[in-house]
Symmetry: C6
Subunit: 75 residues, 6 copies
């Protein structure tokens, strides 16, 4: 209850769904490294590296597949 | 509203769907690095590296799966 | 019986499903390296490396796809 | 119209479907690096590197999933 | 017949399904490197490297998707 | 006709399906590097590298997903 961050995969719009995919991707990182200070320190590394950015976009794409399917693609 | 970039996953043709997959891939990058100037500076790095280009194509392929399914493969 | 860690893919909530995806990801590691001491020693390496964290999040995203589909996306 | 390269995901045979998956993979590269001369210059790099070839095959595999599903697996 | 290692994708439980996903992942390695002695020699390398372990877990996750779908998620 | 290597995705058994997934993975490599002599020369590199073997197994896993779905998982 303290941390109910994922009540549902259903979103009103595709754009909110994409935002949820980003949230899921970040949560996937946080479960390995829960220390927010460490994460902040790492940010300059990957946010200025093209391959790291592509890898981040890759994870979002996977999670967006899940969210889009959950929402029946907002058809 | 200020940034309604993804009103729908439905496109008229497969080609527009592929274009949307590219847009989704770029958005996935932008959420980590929103600074357009930084992104421009990184471009020569990955656009001249074969493995980076393959990785970019990989993300587009994943997003295209989502868009194609949303459109029932334009059958 | 000694090690019944995966009785079902069905969870009550999306959040428990995400937690199960994390468990599946860790099990995937453990089958290759069952020695918990080695795993502990490796932790500082990857938990302080942005690309390793992204890769870990990637595996969780794949497993979450499976769990979410199993639960019919908790619709 | 000038560049109608993807009129449909439907192909007559699995083999043509695989060929289409290759086309999709190459298009995914071209959207990032449209300069054909640069792409030609990069070719020796990745076509003589085992890991690069595996990565290329990976992208084709993803795109082939999409094309195969679109064609109901040519059952 | 000499090597009937995959009679079916159907398993009684999710846990056996996960085990089958591991078997599939190992078979995928063996087809490229069938020499068991070489594989044994490589083991210390990847079983003590965090990124290699994550990559192994990734392949298991993909194969588990297939096995889970085959079993209708053991619903 | 000269090269009809993929007449169908349907196989009699899961094991033949796995073999087909391997064939698809190799074809994905060959489209980028058709020179068999080069491929033979590269073999020692990746067949003695744990991460390369995992990457190869990864591509087989993706292709096996496609083949398994095509065969309705041989249920």
């Amino acid at each position: 209850m303290a941390d109910q961050w994922l009540p549902s995969l259903i979103t009103k719009t595709p754009e909110e769904g994409f935002q949820l995919a980003i949230t899921l991707s970040r949560r996937g990182v946080k479960f390995t490294q829960p220390d927010v200070e460490v994460l902040k320190k790492l940010r300059p590394d990957y946010s200025n590296n093209a391959d790291s950015l592509t890898a981040a976009s890759h994870v979002v794409a996977i999670n967006f597949q899940t969210v889009a399917a959950a929402n029946n693609y907002w058809r």
